[in-house]
Amino acid sequence: MNYALLVQGAPYSQQAAHSALRFAHALIARGHTLGTIFFYHDGVYNASRLATPPQDEPHLVEAWRRLHEDHGTSLLVCIAAALRRGIIDEREARRHGKAGYAVESPFELTGLGQLLDVHSNHDRLVTFSP
């Protein structure tokens, strides 16, 4: 089956993102496809390239990126939820006159409508929330 995940929890405050990552690995190990992860609400904080966790703790941003590299999983970030939280990419930084940015490929800022398309285009959508 082709799975999608909806992640709504910040990476180091609640367990949601950790659960999502474990579920991602497990579904791939069972032979399924993980087509897309959609980040919404505080889940958008998972997309920050500036995250600097202690070396002896899991690096979630890296782990999401590796899912994309190893399995082609799309990493979609709701742009409306992200902007207000300071999770902007280079293009939005330019547009809003910000001196830096936090999001880079393979994470993509995208409209909320994409979440509905993802739900339609995948066999399963599983939500992990704080």
Partner: protein, 123 residues
Amino acid sequence: MSDTTDNSMLVVLRHAPHGSSWLREGLDVALVGAALGKKVHLLFLGDGVLALATGQQHGPLGQKGTHPTLDMLEMYDIDMILVDGKALTQRGLTADDLQLPVSLIDDATLPEIFARHSSIYNF
């Protein structure tokens, strides 16, 4: 309640206004769905029923509330608004205290609502 189509989406709203962004973000999913031409049903459950209380205002810092969004639902053809009757009672409210005409749902009906929607968003 007579609509038994399978391809409508159900957005469940379980959070009160102002205290968090969950209600707004859930409503945004509903509006986007409607804008994309999907048939959207709303279910206000638990604290979510508080979203419908009349007389809400902007926050003191000018934070937009969610009550103006509710007034826009009709424009988006979102007209099935299901409300958890037990949650209303627990909070001392009746259907007369609400900003919109709604369909009150009892406990027996709740599982049916979840069962008959092919896509559920639970906020």
